[in-house]
């Protein structure tokens, strides 16, 4: 365990929690990224701008972060084909399962939804199994 960062991760988590709190108390919406993004195509016209605004905030967040510190640039050290398969699975799976890490893992658990607690347990188990297979087998 080389990079254990409990303080930064806890503070980052609190900011995520504040964001989710803003979304539910002000907008009356769940801050679930896959739902906000994937729902655009079928959303009522009046529901498109706030979705775009939230996503724009996410895209622009590294620039806001730069005011305080150098943001970490994600580097994916896996073959392109693996990236494509992963992206497809994340896209289909998050929509079919009605949520991802934010919608189920944060908001759903915070409102003690049984569906979200089960979904989070299942996708964590699947993620753990996948990492075990790709990193410790073969």
């Amino acid at each position: 365990m080389e990079d254990f960062t409990p303080i930064a991760s806890l503070i980052g988590g609190i900011l995520i929690g504040l964001s989710a709190s803003m979304m539910i108390l002000l907008n009356g919406r769940i801050a679930g990224v896959s739902g906000i993004l994937g729902g655009i195509a079928d959303a009522h016209k009046s529901d498109v701008p706030w979705r775009m605004a939230f996503l724009a905030g996410l895209v622009l967040s590294p620039f806001a972060y730069m005011l305080f510190s150098q943001p970490f640039a994600a580097k994916l050290a896996v073959p392109d084909l693996q990236i494509i398969i992963a992206g497809l699975l994340v896209g289909i799976g998050s929509r079919y399962g009605s949520g991802c890490t934010s919608g189920h893992g944060v908001c759903g658990i915070a409102r003690m939804s049984r569906r979200s607690i089960i979904a989070t347990s299942v996708f964590m188990a699947a993620g753990i199994a996948t990492v075990y297979i790709t990193h410790h087998m073969g």
């Binding site: 990224v33 896959s34 994600a74 992206g87 497809l88 939804s113 979904a119 993620g127 990193h135």
Partner: protein, 137 residues
């Protein structure tokens, strides 16, 4: 109308800053969290603890509101049933998440900084979402 877009923009910024600070936009860190049989990095448990700990109170307050604080409809999920789509979807999502260490929020928050690979992931994810939409019909 203007208010809800502005608050969504701020919420998105805050969410993204939280993701970056917490380590969620670092795929290696996410893999380290999922690697419980290897060199396990439990940091992301602290992300969930912080995020759930704070928003728990907001959702408790929200469940008693008929309109939001800026007079928007409250739209909390109503589904209660544990069904097959929930489970299959979560399995597929988890496999994809474990394959590269990216989920939708961190992927979008990394579009500007992550280079070609992140862009490729986001495009594949959007295609995945479009495939789901076609199959649903």
């Amino acid at each position: 109308m203007f208010k809800k877009n502005l608050s969504a923009l701020f919420a998105g910024l805050l969410f993204g800053i939280g993701l970056i600070l917490s380590g969620m936009t670092n795929p290696a860190k996410v893999i380290g969290f999922l690697d419980i049989f290897g060199d396990w990095d439990p940091s992301l448990m602290f992300v969930m603890t912080g995020a759930i700990g704070v928003s728990f109170f907001a959702f408790r307050k929200a469940s008693g509101l008929s309109l939001s604080l800026i007079k928007e409809q409250m739209q909390l999920p109503t589904a209660r049933q544990i069904d097959l789509p929930l489970i299959i979807g979560a399995v597929l999502f988890g496999i994809g998440w474990g394959l590269v260490g990216l989920c939708p929020g961190p992927a979008i928050a990394s579009i500007a900084t992550g280079g070609f690979e992140v862009l490729l992931f986001v495009i594949a994810m959007l295609i995945g979402m479009a495939i789901y939409r076609l199959l649903k019909r």
